[in-house]
Symmetry: D2
Subunit: 504 residues, 4 copies
Amino acid sequence: MKVVNVPSNGREKFKKNWKFCVGTGRLGLALQKEYLDHLKLVQEKIGFRYIRGHGLLSDDVGIYREVEIDGEMKPFYNFTYIDRIVDSYLALNIRPFIEFGFMPKALASGDQTVFYWKGNVTPPKDYNKWRDLIVAVVSHFIERYGIEEVRTWLFEVWNEPNLVNFWKDANKQEYFKLYEVTARAVKSVDPHLQVGGPAICGGSDEWITDFLHFCAERRVPVDFVSRHAYTSKAPHKKTFEYYYQELELEPPEDMLEQFKTVRALIRQSPFPHLPLHITEYNTSYSPINPVHDTALNAAYIARILSEGGDYVDSFSYWTFSDVFEEMDVPKALFHGGFGLVALHSIPKPTFHAFTFFNALGDELLYRDGEMIVTRRKDGSIAAVLWNLVMEKGEGLTKEVQLVIPVSFSAVFIKRQIVNEQYGNAWRVWKQMGRPRFPSRQAVETLPSAQPHVMTEQRRATDGVIHLSIVLSKNEVTLIEIEQVRDETSTYVGLDDGEITSYSS
Amino acid sequence: MKVVNVPSNGREKFKKNWKFCVGTGRLGLALQKEYLDHLKLVQEKIGFRYIRGHGLLSDDVGIYREVEIDGEMKPFYNFTYIDRIVDSYLALNIRPFIEFGFMPKALASGDQTVFYWKGNVTPPKDYNKWRDLIVAVVSHFIERYGIEEVRTWLFEVWNEPNLVNFWKDANKQEYFKLYEVTARAVKSVDPHLQVGGPAICGGSDEWITDFLHFCAERRVPVDFVSRHAYTSKAPHKKTFEYYYQELELEPPEDMLEQFKTVRALIRQSPFPHLPLHITEYNTSYSPINPVHDTALNAAYIARILSEGGDYVDSFSYWTFSDVFEEMDVPKALFHGGFGLVALHSIPKPTFHAFTFFNALGDELLYRDGEMIVTRRKDGSIAAVLWNLVMEKGEGLTKEVQLVIPVSFSAVFIKRQIVNEQYGNAWRVWKQMGRPRFPSRQAVETLPSAQPHVMTEQRRATDGVIHLSIVLSKNEVTLIEIEQVRDETSTYVGLDDGEITSYSS
Amino acid sequence: MKVVNVPSNGREKFKKNWKFCVGTGRLGLALQKEYLDHLKLVQEKIGFRYIRGHGLLSDDVGIYREVEIDGEMKPFYNFTYIDRIVDSYLALNIRPFIEFGFMPKALASGDQTVFYWKGNVTPPKDYNKWRDLIVAVVSHFIERYGIEEVRTWLFEVWNEPNLVNFWKDANKQEYFKLYEVTARAVKSVDPHLQVGGPAICGGSDEWITDFLHFCAERRVPVDFVSRHAYTSKAPHKKTFEYYYQELELEPPEDMLEQFKTVRALIRQSPFPHLPLHITEYNTSYSPINPVHDTALNAAYIARILSEGGDYVDSFSYWTFSDVFEEMDVPKALFHGGFGLVALHSIPKPTFHAFTFFNALGDELLYRDGEMIVTRRKDGSIAAVLWNLVMEKGEGLTKEVQLVIPVSFSAVFIKRQIVNEQYGNAWRVWKQMGRPRFPSRQAVETLPSAQPHVMTEQRRATDGVIHLSIVLSKNEVTLIEIEQVRDETSTYVGLDDGEITSYSS
Amino acid sequence: MKVVNVPSNGREKFKKNWKFCVGTGRLGLALQKEYLDHLKLVQEKIGFRYIRGHGLLSDDVGIYREVEIDGEMKPFYNFTYIDRIVDSYLALNIRPFIEFGFMPKALASGDQTVFYWKGNVTPPKDYNKWRDLIVAVVSHFIERYGIEEVRTWLFEVWNEPNLVNFWKDANKQEYFKLYEVTARAVKSVDPHLQVGGPAICGGSDEWITDFLHFCAERRVPVDFVSRHAYTSKAPHKKTFEYYYQELELEPPEDMLEQFKTVRALIRQSPFPHLPLHITEYNTSYSPINPVHDTALNAAYIARILSEGGDYVDSFSYWTFSDVFEEMDVPKALFHGGFGLVALHSIPKPTFHAFTFFNALGDELLYRDGEMIVTRRKDGSIAAVLWNLVMEKGEGLTKEVQLVIPVSFSAVFIKRQIVNEQYGNAWRVWKQMGRPRFPSRQAVETLPSAQPHVMTEQRRATDGVIHLSIVLSKNEVTLIEIEQVRDETSTYVGLDDGEITSYSS
């Protein structure tokens, strides 16, 4: 059994870069009530600072139209929906991490689209009109929300242009052109606005280097680098509603390696100090892979939340909600969606893992590959431990002994558990017979799949507390240790033994 | 181990008379926000039909004043506060079970008071003015809420006049006089209004008989009989903030016997068919006896909820909330108050027991002294089991095997547990060091002492489900069994074994 | 000046058929938060019983898909979105008046679509699959909401099949076929469900007769007849965002004539007693005609609300909200949309007119073409008067004197006014410079365009009240007259003249 | 007619000291829901920073008790209620301006009380126990809310000790003793806490001087001076429910003189720079004087809000709500209470006047005795004008012409009016027959007595706007002038004249 002696003081700060941003389905979905209900839940319990998703310029949000006036087609910018969307975000205390894309039909050079909702992925047929569009959108944001506000936002150009399904022919030079026009357009409105790219997914990291050299050579503005990271393997089996990838995910270390690799490329580039934002990450990149609904996913992500902030300035979990339409309208309550929150506002295990990390303090006392121990401002201790098990089979528990120095004589310990049994709505749903469109009664029962809570009082011995913790397979556990100020002696004459059946 | 074969069909209805009414601290407290927050919680999760408490006519509610006009003292009826109170009740979908009392100072014949809040317990010094007061109050209710509404209310005359601390000298003849004047006053406003008494506590049941004969002889209106029931023994030890009674409570059967005894007295009276309302009951009659905060209390009350409705038309748990002031302002979060809900909206074990009974169906399939099994309208089964242990010591678990016939091939079983460990905020509070005035952080943790939830899917064998249930000491458990309509086969190609670490 | 002597008693009931139903934009919009905010406002202030709109079966709601299983395309019914929509409706206390349409792409025989949102208007390519779809949808409703609930709903087949843009070639025989298959499918699920048609717009009333004869001859089930009614004239001028029709609307009598005409056709048909539902009506049939935003529209509709219920069983204002997308995303706050409520939850004059009618009582005391006077259950009088002026120009006021018999000696009179000046957010918006996407500050000011409220106390003379009412151009006014129970004399010694600057 | 040429730029800041603090009824009332509903309304529409009232240490809040332990009476500090109260305040974004008083019964040296609610106004019988009480209370506040928070609070010692009904014999030396003990106790907990006095009412300003000399001589801590100000004259007529004072109030200038007088006394004292807080002010000092319900009161207070901040650091309107009990439970909806808000959350005219001042900007452009004109941060102009008329009679209007320089070519002007006719719920209530306990229907009508709103668009001529404003008797008017950014030209082809009955 592993024994960990937690130091009395931390030498590092625990960087909460994991809270910086979260992903969302296409922005048009942000008009929906259920979407906003989920976001409200996420903001109340976790509280991200930014939100990023596709589709700002796609036709359903309606910003770009061309209308005939005096026989000529002229641009018409319609902000009815995007105002509503951004108003909703700000009201929920989250700010847009703007992604410019995809192409409005009236401005597209081709017909190629991506997703059920048909995002057009071709270059603009007229770069001047594109530039005008960017200027119009950014200017409108400033007019409505004020320059102070909009300077805190980030603007990213396109999504995964290194993939043929997201950018026609994955044409790198064309992307660089798009980037240049867009970045210059943004800066022309206000030079303090922050713009970046290339928003690629893994597998073509030469784009990072090329992109930064391109910017350097042509003196194109660039304020940050962005990239995505997933760790699932190749496709293995598809049904009309599920997408299974090769059995084993890459281990979490693989994702952390991706973070480090890109950071290293930036360090060697003409802009060695640029911030690095991982604007998407998750285990699988498929919105219909059931792994997202599992306790394993929570235990996997725990490791990323614990360490990722050491390597990147932000990493944005893709996505906060199963209100999502890339592969058609969800066909069942649980369908392998990316969301932290399933339909009907039901938290998944990974949601709980995020709330656990949200309870951690800023002072990092101890960290290894399976736990993180911190101290909070009020002096209490908060730790998250996890037991990621990527092999099949029962059992596979792990035991850890924590030796924690405390300055209090007595402590109140609260432990919360998410694992296969607890905080696992997916499991309860399977017990119910996997109802696709659950009855209203079932919808009331499912959120009761909350983390298991255990509390106790413990006295310190020689200034330390010994905690023996058994973690079941794929468990994520939060432990909070607070000082007890015992007032029992003020109840003069108190005697629980005077109560029927109780002892003193 | 006990084996119970639950029949397929019930021959009786489970009477939900336990939901008819609940007790409250003095009505003046109903102006308070915390009181109304607790009542809202209780109504959402339980949903009583009526609420009864003292102090309608006490000076803090302010109804009766005498003012000098042209040198003469004249009655002035002020409905400012009582309108606000009754408006609040109706808005929370609960109706007043009016108790006329105590005596307004301006109308009192003496100075004797009861409680920290000084309810005057002396007869009126002028019965005509009392009658006018009753007429004014009842008439105002009708003017404001309509005759249809007020006819659904009940009007009870005074509280525990058989005790010297609630009625001067416990003078029976004086009470009968008060009753007669009051009952006739009520009926003079509308003959369909319902009035009753004598609202006595246990120990003087000859009052019941005498009261009914009095009514018969003088043709005094009487629509129901009311009485209280507690099962705690004599005082044993008092401190400045706790009141301990002799160690053992009488068993629950004692309370049920009290119910039956009064029913028998009514049957033998001139009004053999009058309804019987137990307008107060609980284990201890002291608002500072810690028994009320315990899991034992929940297990004890479970038996009463299960059977009480067979003997009486209603029984009103005293009280819904620890917002209560009979023994001064509460001196600590947990202080032995009567409430189902502790301060800061924290549910006690007994609250959870009430919500469990609220989940039961109307069709009574099986019942004994430690369980009740019902069927709900939608065909599902709901059962409550309890393990009341009045002796001290550890262990003391109980095991039961239920054999339940079901017409479904597979069932979803949800079990919820309240016991010493779960759903027991009192225990967590003790672990925290019994903070009198808990910090805002502590107040957030305490409500997480929720019932423990366990779910599973089970297949029926030969049309029955076998459930082995182990009940820990003073546990109350709710079991709900619903049909599973298994949709798994519609997910073509489904294979959980394709998910990392999971099996098919 | 006109003098109206209102009779003391009414001989008729004022039929509130105008509250039976209201129209909505495509059902997919019911997923949106702003849509639901508007519906909540409408239900709180008006309270319709049913809601009807297009697009139940269109692809965005997602109900019908075909998926490949074992090499074969099979139907897949997805109720994820429609459950959410109907749940929302019922939570707002409004029920669906189901319109079956338009055609799912996978089931369509052609490509013809209608509207910005591309509703497919071609017949099914496979009537068996269509029938199966209807059965699946109706069965699912019953499973989720219960048979009692769904029997209160109404099911209408398609929308305006007599127009070529809503039904391929406006082919009547093809519609009858669709109707027959659909109606039989509905009844096959439960014979008590209510189904009807032909949902035509005006101009082809021979469809009504033909439809009913068709049903009679083939013994096709039909529970009601439905038709639409608009009174705007031919197109006159179009811009890219406005649609102007010939200057003068037909007068309101024209719409009432349409109601009567259809009723007469039904009377002469094989089903003379069938209910008649006007499932859409408004002045203009264009969603971008500014008339909908005006006070004139309110004064116009007032006449319809007052009398329409005498001729038809319901008439459903098209529509409750400007959250609507038939002609693209709204291009400005006010854009001539059908809604009672403009974007940002801003009530239009017609909304206020509906709330005025909602204040009327059931007892009809007097009615003519410019006013309606009723008595409410509590004895108070409520009247709505309007001054519809269809000519241009200033002034054009109207004066009326009402002589109202009252049994009270004093009355409290409250008058509320909507006209060009008051309750007219469109006017304030124009004063603001017609901001397309109004700032958050402007959005706060606009709803303050509330009806003007005037109150007074008046004493009756010889049992009557004389009210002289001047109505400005296009004013709609609500007058409520309640008994005063004067308590002034109970304030002994009261003298307002003792207050600085006030008189006794 | 007066013509005012408003300057283009302000040379002063408009000090919003009127928002610093507001008065409240006894703190025990802060437990009540209606009280908190009113406070919520006030905070949403006005937003005071502090709240001050009596009764912190009175027995109903329950802080101080003595209990018998081992035969000895010991202090017991109970924070159950005060925690709830302060939690509520902070949740509504308002902080306590603590007033230490009155005397707990167990600590009182005598029986003398004040008010219906019997505040004990005698010195402590044991100054050591008093000191311990102060230390305990302040320490508890710090423990619960943190030292940062509590350092922003203010602590005032007692209330109006210069009156015999508030302090036994109005004994100045005894008060100084109480002050010294209390101030030293507060500072012993933390030297940065702010403490002050002497909280006197007008009429004995020598107390101010004596108090400051006393502090100087004995080096007693003092951080601010406090005093009250009312302008009503002597009692004139009393009934059992109304209190009329001599007809004319002193003019508002009298109150401003009181402010200046105390400021001058401080300037001449040993602590010339101490802040001065007027911890109570209003027209009449009686809670049952109808003047408080009138439009006159609003016009009177307007002058004070406009100028008071030039002379004092804060002035605290007594009180925010009619939830108040000094003269018994309110006997009618309108009863002459101090509140900005009447019972049932009904705003009074003075409430509206406060909201008007809340709309003013920081840049003071112009001010005289009947108006104030400001510029707001966004460049818009906001002005409040009033027409205080203290003589009886009709008419008495006032006309003003404002010449306002603007840099915009067109402006949107919004004017809101409170006067005898508008925003005057008292008047509507009188029309209803002064119902003491209004029906639920009446309660819905009364809040519709909102300020009258008028809007228009106006074009500037030669860079100025000319506004002719007629103010009716006792009117208070808010005028807001904003730039119009006219978008009309973007609606290509727009022609309102194409709408029936409208002109282009």
